[in-house]
């Protein structure tokens, strides 16, 4: 329990490492040469959710592509642990590392960035940071911050749902934890789509805390309350959307009432192919886990100078992939069935504008 740095490593990975070690053993001398390569580190919330598990796979794939040592740190929702583990890695590598972090909570980003700057390591943050903490204030170590705006994608999913409903009828909506920024943004997108489509009526909005269990309960109660008036279900993430599909299935209505989610997990994509869901958005955590490291790695190894990059490369929105029945099968084939093939050198390819703080 006290070796968090390696807790996140999967069994398959252990076997791979063991195999790699066995093969590399005769070439121990070459290991000394590799010591100059910075260690690449992903710090994420946990490995219990598909999202961060895929993130971790992307990180491992990037590390393999440049032959760097790879470390996964897991916060388990504990900010103190997250920061302490990063400081431990900085000390162990003497600052010769690149850190790609999804901070457990916004305030954590500042001590993490300060520690990296002090140690000479390079850091990329994603999703959470205080609004007044900017990469350009910590040149060159704080390379970039990446986030995704929930508003356009919450709206895109609502539009996809309305389209599947034929443009009219009643919907119910499942939201994430009320104080979460992504939950607020995605709901804002839903509201915008509702305002633009007068034929659609929002029957009820409930908070299901991102959880399948809570979503199942809420949807069950709605089936009693509104019955056939429910023409569609909008959910702020895929876990809740899939639970809504199960509630419909128990009622004999799966596939008849369209449901949309967000996040793009495998089961959701499969449900779209089966016609039980109408859409989702893939953030591509594989890209986040690998490209976050790649951006930091290129800066660390002299590929570019962060202080010379424009602001929309330092604090930018990434691009999500909208998946509906039209492209679900091709997305499944190229991203899920086979390991995604990404060009890790295309570091600015998914910049989608500078982040706006209101």
């Amino acid at each position: 329990m006290n070796t968090p740095a390696y807790r996140g490593v999967s069994r398959r990975r252990v076997i791979q490492i063991a195999a790699a070690g066995a093969i590399a053993a005769p070439f121990v001398a070459r290991r000394g040469f590799a010591a100059g390569t910075p260690t690449v580190v992903n710090s994420i919330r946990s490995l219990t959710n598909p999202y961060h598990a895929t993130w971790n796979k992307g990180g491992a794939a990037f590390a393999k592509s440049v032959g760097a040592d790879y470390v996964t740190l897991v916060t388990e929702g504990n900010s103190e642990k997250g920061i302490a583990d990063i400081k431990a890695v900085l000390a162990k590598t003497g600052g010769n590392c690149v850190i790609n972090v999804d901070p457990n909570d916004s305030p954590d980003a500042r001590p993490i960035v300060e520690a990296c700057k002090a140690a000479g390591a390079y850091v990329v943050t994603q999703w959470n940071k205080p609004n007044d903490l900017h990469p350009w204030d910590f040149d060159p170590n704080y390379v970039a911050h990446i986030s995704f705006s929930g508003v356009p994608y919450g709206q895109a999913m609502a539009e996809a749902l309305f389209k599947a409903m034929g443009g009219k009828g009643g919907i119910v909506a499942l939201g994430g934890i009320q104080s979460n920024v992504p939950a607020i943004e995605r709901k804002k997108g839903l509201d915008a789509a509702l305002a633009a489509n007068s034929g659609i009526q929002l029957l009820d909005y409930q908070v299901a805390n991102w959880q399948a269990t809570a979503a199942l309960e809420k949807t069950n109660a709605w089936l009693t309350q509104f019955g056939d008036k429910i023409g569609g279900i909008w959910a702020a993430n895929d876990d809740m959307a899939l639970a809504a599909v199960e509630a419909l299935r128990a009622d004999g209505r799966a596939g008849k009432v369209p449901v949309t989610g967000i996040d793009g997990i495998q089961l959701a994509v499969e449900a779209i192919i089966k016609g039980e869901m109408a859409g989702t958005v893939a953030w591509d955590p594989y890209w986040q886990g690998g490209m976050g490291l790649s951006i930091g790695y290129h800066a660390k190894t002299g590929g570019f100078d962060p202080s010379k990059e424009p602001k929309d490369h330092r604090e930018f929105y990434g691009k999500g992939v909208v998946i509906t029945a039209d492209n679900a099968q091709s997305f499944y084939d190229s991203n899920i069935k086979s390991e995604p093939k990404l060009d890790w050198n295309d570091i600015w390819g998914r910049c989608n504008g500078q982040i706006q703080y209101s």
């Binding site: 219990t48 959710n49 598909p50 598990a53 909005y205 959880q211 809570a214 299935r249 089961l267």
Partner: protein, 333 residues
């Protein structure tokens, strides 16, 4: 319905006290009826058959979990490993029956394996607790993380879809209008009731909860009873895992989230005392119904999502306040 504590007869002359506490034992039931009446007033759909079925579906897992927890709480201990064993159970079942990740197809046999696994984890809980004399709170807290951790290690954070028609049938196929899972949970209730009222283990549980030193002095094998009870509870949690996997059609390491809270709440709201020795599985049925009817009802009544949690909290305090017999309480911790 009114199972009273062992120490009632102690206060021989206090007939009024006895009547008062009998009334208190019925309080949760009265709360349930009142709750149903209020919700029906707001939304008559509440009384529809379709909604009964949905409430029963929402209750089946908390009921099965509550049965296990009731036994533990009856003997004055506490069990926090509910989510751990349930999660591991749902992950194992999802990998052993027909599924989207590997070629296994063990059917009913897989369910047995899961129940045995739950029993083993429960037995470890009990053995560590008794032999190493570690409070049940800490042992089971550890087992909670062990269970979720193992589930995590097995799946690496991914979810596995269950395709087995038998397992999915528990949630989808119906008998007399109710899903098979509901009947299964009622069967579990019947078994638990028989264990509680018609076996030596059941008698011993109440004796332990009422006063462990006395029980030990009168020759009850305290250690064995404790280990057996934790084993039994583990089996019930594993069954809960099977039902949870059946209901969501998948196994993943997040499937247990929030269930410990519902379980303990249902047991306590039903009238089983946390101090042990008082209550029973039928009270737990009432407690489970109160909790699920309340959350179903709040959606039906259109209570704003932001205050639902607060209402749930108030409800817990109110239900427990109504059911406590204050005359017998000298110390409140």
């Amino acid at each position: 319905m009114t199972r009273q504590g062992v120490d009632h007869e102690r206060r021989g002359g206090a007939r009024r006290g006895l009547a008062r506490s009998r009334l208190a034992a019925w309080a949760p039931f009265a709360v349930l009826v009142l709750l149903c009446a209020v919700i029906t007033g707001f939304n008559p759909n509440f009384l529809s058959f379709g909604n009964f079925v949905r409430i029963s579906q929402a209750s089946m897992i908390p009921l099965v979990l509550g049965l296990g927890a009731t036994f533990i709480i009856l003997m004055g201990s506490v069990d926090l490993s509910v989510e751990g064993i349930l999660t591991l159970g749902s992950v194992i079942i999802s990998l052993l029956v027909l599924n989207g990740a590997n070629g296994n197809d063990l059917g009913v046999f897989a369910v047995l394996i899961v129940l045995v696994a739950g029993g083993v984890l429960g037995a470890v809980n009990g053995a560590v607790h008794v032999r190493l004399k570690i409070p049940s709170f800490m042992v089971t807290l550890g087992m909670w993380f062990v269970g979720v951790g193992l589930a995590n290690a097995i799946l690496g954070g991914l979810a596995v879809r269950i395709n087995d028609p038998l397992i999915r049938g528990l949630a989808i196929h119906r008998f007399l209008g109710f899903p098979w899972g509901v009947w299964l949970s009622l069967a579990a209730l019947a078994i638990a009731y028989v264990i509680q009222d018609h076996t030596r283990l059941g008698r011993y549980l109440y004796a332990l909860g009422g006063g462990e030193e006395l029980a030990a002095l009168s020759g009850i094998p305290v250690a064995r009873v404790r280990i057996a009870t934790f084993t039994l509870a583990g089996i019930f949690y594993a069954l809960g895992g099977v039902l949870a996997a059946a209901q969501l059609g998948l196994g993943n390491a997040q499937i247990g989230q929030g269930r410990l809270f519902t379980t303990i709440t249902a047991v306590v709201v039903g009238g089983t005392a946390l101090s042990g020795g008082e209550g029973g599985v039928l009270q737990t049925l009432v407690g489970v119904l109160i909790v699920t009817v309340l959350s179903n009802g709040m959606v039906l009544m259109g209570v704003s999502p932001s205050v639902q949690q607060a209402v749930q909290g108030l409800m817990i305090i109110a239900a427990v306040a109504l059911s406590i017999d204050r005359k017998r309480l000298r110390i409140v911790k």
